[in-house]
Symmetry: C2
Subunit: 198 residues, 2 copies
DNA sequence: TGTACATCAGTGAACGCGCGTTCACTGATGTAC
DNA sequence: TGTACATCAGTGAACGCGCGTTCACTGATGTAC
């Protein structure tokens, strides 16, 4: 046997991470395999030892977010699986998601913000990966306000508000309007929580 | 003088409209000039009689929505510039924006839904065009609930909810989840209106 | 312990294709006389 | 009114470039003996 399995797995991890970051910043179609491989410290040709096609990489890069910062968010929010009042945790999530830091963190941001239209037009694998991310967010919100009578609806609303507010903030040129949008989304989200968390 | 100015202007209009539709369905970078021109009944080379570069067309195609269906929405919603209670009009707008018809109308849909990440990564002209669309929507909501004490905040929230809910609906594979998202966004929007429209 | 060998991740040149852009040309039209 | 001419929107071949993918090759590593 030549080089160890771990060695190959480590290369693959580097490629996916490199792709995740580059896709986040510049989009799925605007990044070449050349760049992804170079950024991972490898060369063009080796790509096909790991993936059959570029499309295959898309899905894995989007999905990989859940194992990185996506997991971190959950931890930071400090959600206790079966605790009664997790409204505080949901609030922390909201503030973190709609924060300036998150808006400016092009490399580490949530792919739902970075790649909405890319994913919508991509193949079923990418869309499924995107959908899993959304389900994770919804699940998070759902379980953080478990006491509420309609926490499913609340979770869906909070998700649309968070993602929508951030996407619009990202696209707009006017920094002040972007700030206003996030502030309004956060306030509205707090109102929704207050209404449904009584 | 050869062919009339109107003839050239009409060609230009056809190119922009052709581009608007194709961009809406497939994104800014995935559509070639060849296709746009063919779809407008012209050939490749003539493009540069109308636009210096492809980038120039992006912005105009996005902006053109306001003169088409964007204007229609305003008319359909029946907003009276200075009427007191336009909450009904805002409701109609919301329902229309979050409707199944709008979700399925790939060609005619709002570009804020079709092209969010494309616009975010495009040049300042495209981003400005996108921003103007958003401002038009915010203005619409603002003036439809003029009686409220915080109609600006309400308008911003409604915009994030509408655009966010639709973008997520567009991307998700699961049709039922997509429906749920829009239903929740609509209900939440109605609550926001009820709160601020007392 | 030492040596020949097999494996396979990684290399980098090459291929083919599509696309944005250029350019020499065409031909329909309005104008000058 | 009729004819020669100038204009310029539109044509389609060609160019150059980048990118996804392929492929023959390399060389480091673990294994067999």
């Amino acid at each position: 046997m030549p080089l160890s399995k771990e060695h190959k797995a480590e290369s693959r991890r580097r490629i996916v991470e490199s792709a995740r970051v580059l896709f986040n910043v510049r989009g799925l179609h605007e990044v070449s395999i050349d760049e992804i491989m170079a950024n991972a410290g490898l060369t063009r040709g080796g790509f096909y030892n790991h993936f059959a096609t570029k499309d295959e990489l898309y899905a894995e890069a989007v999905a990989s977010f859940l194992n990185g910062r996506g997991k971190l968010w959950r931890d930071e929010a400090g959600i206790q699986p079966d605790s009664a009042d997790n409204v505080e945790a949901a609030l922390a999530m909201l503030k973190s998601y709609l924060s300036d830091e998150h808006l400016e963190d092009l490399e580490g941001q949530c792919p739902m913000i970075a790649l909405p239209s890319d994913a919508a037009r991509a193949g079923p694998k990418v869309r499924t990966a995107y959908e899993q991310l959304l389900r994770a967010m919804i699940h998070l919100f759902e379980s953080s306000c478990r006491g509420a009578d309609d926490n499913r609806k609340t979770a869906l609303t909070l998700s649309s508000l968070c993602v929508g507010g951030m996407i619009l903030s990202r696209t707009v040129e006017d920094v002040e309007l972007a700030r206003e949008l996030r502030a309004a989304a956060l306030e509205a989200a707090q109102d929704v929580l207050a209404l449904n968390g009584e």
